[in-house]
């Protein structure tokens, strides 16, 4: 089975994020980028699927040269090959999904794993868009997934429970924490990944349907009132919640 994993390269969640001079893009100076945490679940699920049914796992990113670092990590985890669709300009999510789907069609992949969310702009859309563009069945935020012949049964998180969903291949699955435990790259894997060539080509460009107007810092909440350091503060808290906040 031909399996594709879409991989995004994002600022480490612990890093401080600064706004660039234009007031609408990121200042990437001094930022550490990592493989998007949700994409680790996607890579792990792809590798497990390959181990069970055979096949080949290809990673795809749309981005600049720095994305190679995350692709390299995915190769070290065990993916067979990687493609970087090079792009330096701004792609909105739909343009990005279009350029990914174009390459996935080229590769003839039957199964595509995508993270549920890229922890930069936190859109959570690329997987669902890809599915519609490819005309594949799909499930988002999967926390369980099993494949039996042509049929996939997956569970997705919803409010107050889980939906159990069935559909046939070809398919796109977006991965949520809980689906699996991503493996660490082994030393052997890291060595092997160094030798692999990341294929590079220009990303196909499509028209954007959205634009950034500005990036802002949220109004910093003035640190709240410390009401006390023992139980005597409780009645004041209850009073404020009733009278000031009016939430109880």
């Amino acid at each position: 089975m031909k399996i594709v994993v879409c991989v995004s390269h994002v600022p480490d969640t612990a890093s401080k994020i600064n706004i660039g001079a234009d007031g609408k893009t990121l200042d990437t100076n001094g930022l550490t980028f990592v493989l998007n945490p949700y994409d680790e679940f996607a890579i792990e699920e792809a590798l497990k699927t390959k181990e069970k049914f055979g096949g080949e796992v290809t990673l795809i990113s749309v981005g600049n040269d720095s994305f190679k670092e995350s692709l390299r990590k995915g190769l070290a985890m065990g993916a067979d090959s990687a493609v970087l669709l090079k792009n330096d300009g701004y792609f909105d999510s739909l343009s990005l999904a279009k350029s990914l789907s174009d390459e996935i069609k080229n590769l003839g992949a039957e199964l595509v794993f995508v993270g549920k969310q890229s922890v930069d702009y936190d859109n959570s859309v690329v997987g669902q868009m890809l599915a519609e563009l490819l005309g594949y069945n799909s499930v988002s935020v999967a926390v369980a997934c099993s494949i039996d012949g042509n049929k996939i049964t997956a569970e997705r998180e919803i409010e107050g429970g889980k939906e159990v969903v069935e559909f046939n291949l070809p398919a796109v699955i977006t991965t949520q924490k809980g689906l699996n435990e991503p493996r660490y790259p082994s030393l052997k894997g890291i060595m092997a990944a160094k030798k692999k060539v990341i294929e590079e080509k220009a990303a196909k460009v499509f028209d954007n349907h959205s634009e950034f107007v500005s990036l802002l810092r949220p109004a910093s909440k003035s640190a709240g009132k410390i009401l006390g350091t023992d139980v005597s503060a409780v009645s004041e808290l209850v009073r404020l919640l009733r009278e000031e906040a009016k939430v109880i």
């Binding site: 909105d92 739909l94 950034f212 949220p218 709240g224």
Partner: protein, 318 residues
């Protein structure tokens, strides 16, 4: 604005979601030309629509649509939006809305903005504001296509029912639906209130010390009709289920009141709850970062505070 607006309402188990009514009310503020659409097998209780002030709704009905199907919903709504030439489409950022909205954008080849917490009118368009980078920044975004999809974080605008109206329900039976993706079962998590939908949340962190000690959290939650939430540390320790996790790798919540007990306030936790209207922190470390975003804080041992707080709440309810 006099553009055609459409609000996609959502129901589960016969209950139409509060977030649906919230965005309907908001959309009407921008355009009197706002329609509503609901999909499902039946409308269990029409009075919900009346009480929420929905004057007219198109109900697209099929007996196989008791549960959500991404394929059926996508096809139905794409056709409906095209047939009626809607330009501004609104969907709440629920599990269903998050799955559905981007599918519509792909099929309609249009712009989309996700998880917006504010909308303002701007020269015949809407300017959307949404948290990015785990809420460290806000992005103001504009959609430039003719059709535009706005996905809205629940409880961003608040909703209080106004006066009752008569609701005109236009039922459209549809026979030809695409069930290539089908929900075959819904597993309920013990019928408990979900953090993503609760008005009040009481969350516990590693400071609770053990799974058993969460009975203190549960007692307080029960007095407040609140959902129980958790930090990742306690979910990873196996004390609480992942469904309760709040934060970057858990759920994003926006309740009226969020009480964080024994939670340090790591950036990834704050990412999931900073848009709560009121935040209370109980932590014995006065330097814990959670106090930076809390409205009210108590610097003390949670095990001293929780029983007394629970009693006080019980008292005022009597």
């Amino acid at each position: 604005m006099d553009n055609k607006f459409l609000v996609v309402l959502e129901q589960r188990n016969g209950i139409i979601k509060k977030s649906s009514f919230e965005i309907y009310a908001k959309a009407k503020e921008f355009s009197a030309n706002t329609d509503a659409v609901l999909i499902g097998a039946s409308i269990v209780d029409e009075s919900q629509l009346k009480q929420a002030g929905v004057s007219e709704v198109t109900f697209i009905k099929n007996n196989d649509l008791e549960n959500y199907s991404s394929s059926a919903y996508t096809n139905i709504l794409v056709d409906f939006i095209k047939q009626n030439s809607y330009e501004f489409v609104f969907i709440a950022n629920t599990a269903l809305g998050k799955d559905l909205a981007p599918r519509l954008a792909a099929k309609l080849d249009c712009g989309i903005t996700m998880d917006c917490t504010n909308l303002t009118e701007d020269a015949g368009n809407l300017l959307a504001t949404r948290p990015v980078f785990a809420g460290k920044l806000l992005l103001q975004q504009k959609l430039t296509s003719t059709v535009k999809i706005f996905n809205i974080r629940p409880n961003s605008f608040g909703f209080t029912a106004g006066s009752e109206v008569e609701t005109k329900i236009n039922v459209k039976e549809t026979s030809d639906i695409c069930l290539s993706v089908k929900t075959v079962d819904v597993k309920k998590a013990g019928g408990k209130l979900d953090v993503a939908e609760a008005d009040v949340i009481v969350s516990g962190g590693r400071g609770m010390k053990s799974a058993e000690n969460f009975n203190h959290i549960e007692s307080l939650a029960s007095e407040l009709n609140a959902a129980v939430g958790a930090s990742r540390a306690v979910v990873d320790a196996g004390w609480r289920p992942h469904a309760e996790q709040v934060g970057q790798t858990g759920k994003t919540v926006s309740p009226n009141l969020y009480i964080a007990v024994g939670i340090s306030g790591a950036i990834q936790h704050i990412a999931g709850m900073r848009s709560s209207k009121y935040i209370v922190a109980i932590n014995k470390d006065k330097d814990a970062p959670i106090f930076q975003i809390a409205d009210y804080g108590i610097v003390a041992d949670a095990f001293d505070i929780l029983p007394v707080l629970t009693e006080e709440i019980k008292k005022i309810k009597q």
